[in-house]
Symmetry: D2
Subunit: 181 residues, 4 copies
């Protein structure tokens, strides 16, 4: 079943907040990633979705989960510009990395939002260690369910077989093989 | 006690939303008025204060209470401009009249906010039928208390009877009578 | 309209908590009274209604409002006995006066509940200074509305002036006067 | 680290609700178990803890998690008897299995509560597939954290190698062995 899940498309981002260097899904392969798509003037985001994503960012900070807020503006583009977003992030004390989705070409929907096939905001996309989409949510999601989905994604073994990784470090025979010098 | 309450200073407003003509406290004299001072990027406003004022606007719509939202921007002025406010009002379905407080001259604090002596946002100012301030709140206020304060202001007799009461204290002639020595 | 509101029937109570002497509506005439009918094992009471009534008890403690909790057990009578109620009051820190409604004779519905015509629990009955029912609520009620209803009842003039009004309608002698033909 | 976690002591139960046969931790070995210790007149249980455990019971119903409500009465024993608990379970629509903790001998604290070393109610004890305690919570716990803890316990591999268990049931040769008749 998981093999059939689609690979998450790469992010298309024009600017970042709360991170010193840009993040890419390719660079995060091997780690679970939670993308929270929002708009700063979307009530369901401001009141529920974004605080929930920020809570996950804090709660799983000792794991290798990466939470990314994705500002997917598809309406009121002039009101929700980068300057306004910066003020929003500051005032609402959002500390997770925030990516500004790349504006669409001839369409109000931004690029990553379209690639991910999001229906609106807030949306959440949980990506497994293998880069495939584990969960796709739209609207208000229950905290307990979100916590469970994230923990299940963290618990998954890395997509590269651990055995192959181990073999690279082995310098003596193991139960199953002997490395050449 | 009420006699000592200060008269509410007049509003200084640059533009209005959700009303066909500008409102003034002078024109509303005789009616109770609830002013809800907010900023569209103030978390305590967005999450609690403004929905509460909007609820009062709906709940008391059959009374003569007038609820006014006052956008008192004192920080992030460029992010909270009139265009952004319009999008906010639309997205959050705010239907009470909204006044944009007049920018300060050489100070980030706008004019009405300064006149009212507000400490920040959200603030609420409840004005009685006599134009005097009945209640001044800052921060999160309890719904039950707000409902009680408003209903008490509505229940007050129109301010005109107060003149007769004043006469008891008068020691010189007024327009309508002369007290005996 | 208020003249047509029914007089609240008297309470029928078997025991009291949180008050040194029993209360009666007759003895409270002239004061507004809020009756909160509940059962200690009614979820809507425990989670919302009773905390709301307790909040009103505290919030209006400097007014002459009297809040009364009325334990109207109409099911699970053996589980919600006086001893269990005492433990509930203690554990949930209820401090408003609590009356135990008198058990029905041959019916599970207790006497005061039947007199008041309550549909279930939680129910609230707000009684004006004149002893007449101002408001009758069933189920979850909004805090702001409850605050407004109570404040409006408090703001009403004492019931005595109503006597003069009544006299205008009287066509036979009463205890205190005889109308002229 | 997990090896050092203590084995959960067995339940001591006088009666059960919502299950046709009694449950034991021994019988549940190999499955994760969430024990929610509560009292029906404990406000923090009624308002938050028990609804949270019930939510987990429903949310993870397709997993092999077993949620057990444990009624650990350590005060007001006469008010929180089995009959009252039955009414509570019915009225609050609790459907998870509920165990009544065995009363203490000469102490108000019941047996399982003492064995588990619980500090009060609500308490939660999450037991891994190996029968060892993974998490011990007291008071209000965050839904997202609870969801994550449960999912992590579900994700753990069973402690008895599945292969060995299978072999006991096999009656023909498999890839790795042939059972004797």
């Amino acid at each position: 079943m998981m093999k059939e899940a689609p690979l998450a498309p790469e992010l298309a981002v024009t600017s970042w907040f709360n991170t010193q260097k840009p993040l890419t899904l390719a660079g995060l392969r091997g780690r679970p990633v939670l993308i929270h798509a929002f708009q700063m003037l979307c009530p369901g985001c401001v009141i529920h979705g974004t605080p929930q994503a920020q809570k996950a960012h804090m709660m799983f900070r000792d794991s290798d989960l990466q939470v990314i807020g994705l500002h997917t503006v598809f309406e009121h583009h002039d009101a929700m510009n980068a300057r306004a977003l910066e003020a929003y992030i500051h005032e609402f004390r959002v500390t997770m990395p925030i990516a500004v989705d790349q504006p669409g070409d001839g369409t109000p929907t931004p690029v990553t939002m379209r690639r991910l096939g999001l229906r609106g905001t807030p949306s959440s996309v949980l990506i497994g260690r293998d880069g495939r989409i584990r969960h796709h949510g739209f609207g208000q999601e229950d905290d307990m369910a979100v916590g469970a989905l994230i923990a299940a994604a963290i618990a998954e073994k890395p997509f590269t077989p651990a055995l192959a990784t181990d073999s690279a470090d082995a310098d003596t025979c193991t139960d199953t093989f002997c490395p050449a010098p």
